[in-house]
């Protein structure tokens, strides 16, 4: 994989909240086409790492490069990077006062300058891709949790992102809806999307991930491909963690 272009590159990243260190000297990189899953106990800094990569958190030390662009950069540069990197949140964060269609076309029309009909067409395509093409004129609160999360993925896809960041996309869902969202993500991975996925779904990580990162206390303790990650645990805390979640 190392011959491929680097999409996200974190070097010695430090993130603090007051006196609390959420990310402590974190270095890692993600290459084009790679699917990297991030696991670890609650509060270990997984979300924080992902959010710094999208400029939603400022960092106190180290450097982050996304798509060859230094973060956060100027306001325009940051906006451009955010358009090229899609983000999906645990709590969906759909715009409740807009229909699904408006949720999807708002960003491409206002940022990429798409005209209405192209945007509508692209919205239909994105929704078809996540399997809910018939829901386009509903409002978010008329959909189930799993459907809402798929709309959120479709909304990110509208910008035709080069990399997608998922922050526990299935944690807020009822168990029976987890599968439908994971299926969509599996398809994306199969189509070659570069993805960073924070998740508690070990089965998904094992099956889809090219690499799995284990985080604890703001550090990446383990970075292994799935087969060795689960079978040859090199870290004591990972062993404890796995014994709890598996």
């Amino acid at each position: 994989m190392t011959d491929k272009e680097v999409v996200i590159d974190c070097r010695n990243v430090v993130k603090t909240y007051g006196s609390f260190t959420a990310l402590n000297d974190v270095s890692t990189s993600i290459h084009r086409g790679e699917v990297v899953c991030v696991v670890g106990p609650s509060g270990s800094g997984k979300s924080t790492l992902l959010r710094t990569c999208n400029g939603l958190e400022t960092i106190q030390g180290g450097t982050i490069e996304v798509l060859g662009q230094h973060m956060p950069g100027t306001r325009k540069e940051l906006e451009t990077i955010r358009r090229r990197a899609g983000m999906v949140f645990q709590s969906f964060n759909l715009f409740d006062h807009m229909s699904i269609r408006e949720n999807l076309v708002l960003a491409p029309i206002t940022t990429l300058g798409l005209d209405r009909s192209t945007a509508d067409q692209r919205a239909q395509d994105s929704l078809d891709r996540v399997g809910i093409g018939n829901q386009i004129d509903k409002y978010p609160n008329q959909l189930s949790g799993g459907q809402q999360q798929r709309v959120a993925i479709a909304r990110a896809l509208m910008m035709q992102p080069e990399v997608m960041l998922f922050d526990e996309p299935t944690s807020a869902l009822d168990p029976e809806m987890v599968g439908e969202v994971l299926d969509v993500m599996r398809d994306l991975a199969a189509q070659g999307m570069t993805m960073a996925v924070v998740t508690h779904e070990m089965g998904f990580a094992r099956e889809v991930g090219d690499r799995i990162l284990f985080m604890a206390d703001g550090q990446i303790l383990v970075d292994q491909p799935p087969d060795t990650f689960f079978t040859i645990p090199t870290d004591e805390r990972l062993t404890t963690f796995l014994s709890k979640v598996l």
Binding site: G55, L56, N93, F95, L106
Partner: protein, 221 residues
């Protein structure tokens, strides 16, 4: 005693004149007040600097002093300080505009600051430009959330217009007093005026109650 409808049928046009003045005062003080409120709200949202500190003080000050004090201060002090003559009605509109500005600024600020941070993050992560985020993501739901508090304040404003009778503005209460003095039919005129206020304010109160219940239901879902 007997409730004398006769006196009402003779003198009701004066009460209606008063009603017109009441409504006119509400309208103008809302108009001027809301414009000021936008500035004060911007000041409070801006978070630091002179504009912020002054806005915070102005909002707190005019929300904390009694309306009558404000009305009398404007009516009797402003002309002395600036050497300009103001009619009672203009003074009243000025005082109530300040009342509107402070209260509506606070309502707007609360509306904006209760924006769902997750939706803001989603909008930012899509790279949507700032002005679009304000116009499409922040303001429309904020207006909706703010509507009960705003209408509730509207009821307070209508009630506050009655206080302008104390500086001689010829609104409803003033007219009722004048007519009462002239005909000794205090009960009739005061009751009529109370009923008119009730008819103006009660529907708004009902709206507030419904809208609040709706917002609570939305939050629980």
């Amino acid at each position: 005693m007997n409730f004398d409808f006769n006196v009402l049928t003779i003198h009701y046009p004066a009460v209606l004149d008063g009603l017109l003045v009441t409504l006119r005062i509400c309208l103008f003080s809302l108009l001027f007040g809301v414009i000021d409120a936008v500035f004060l709200c911007l000041g409070k949202l801006s978070g630091r600097g002179a504009g912020y500190r002054v806005s915070v003080f102005v909002v707190d000050f005019f929300r904390t002093i009694p309306e009558v004090v404000l009305i009398f201060w404007i009516y009797s002090c402003l002309p002395l300080l600036f050497g300009a003559r103001l009619s009672a009605e203009i003074s009243g509109i000025l005082a109530l505009s300040l009342l509107v500005a402070a209260n509506v600024a606070e309502i707007m600020r609360a509306g904006v600051q209760s924006t769902n941070p997750g939706q803001l993050e989603a909008a930012m992560s899509l790279g949507i430009p700032a002005h679009t985020i304000w116009l499409r993501i922040v303001i429309p739901p904020a207006l909706q959330r703010m509507s009960p508090a705003f209408v509730n304040f509207l009821t307070e404003l209508i009630k506050a217009t009655s206080l302008l009778s104390t500086i001689g503005v010829a609104e409803m209460v003033y007219q009722a007093n004048v007519l009462g003095n002239r005909t000794f039919a205090y009960v009739e005129f005061l009751t009529l005026v109370a009923a008119i206020y009730f008819a103006l304010i009660f529907p708004l109160s009902l709206f507030v109650r419904r809208a609040e219940a709706r917002l609570v239901a939305q939050k629980c879902r």
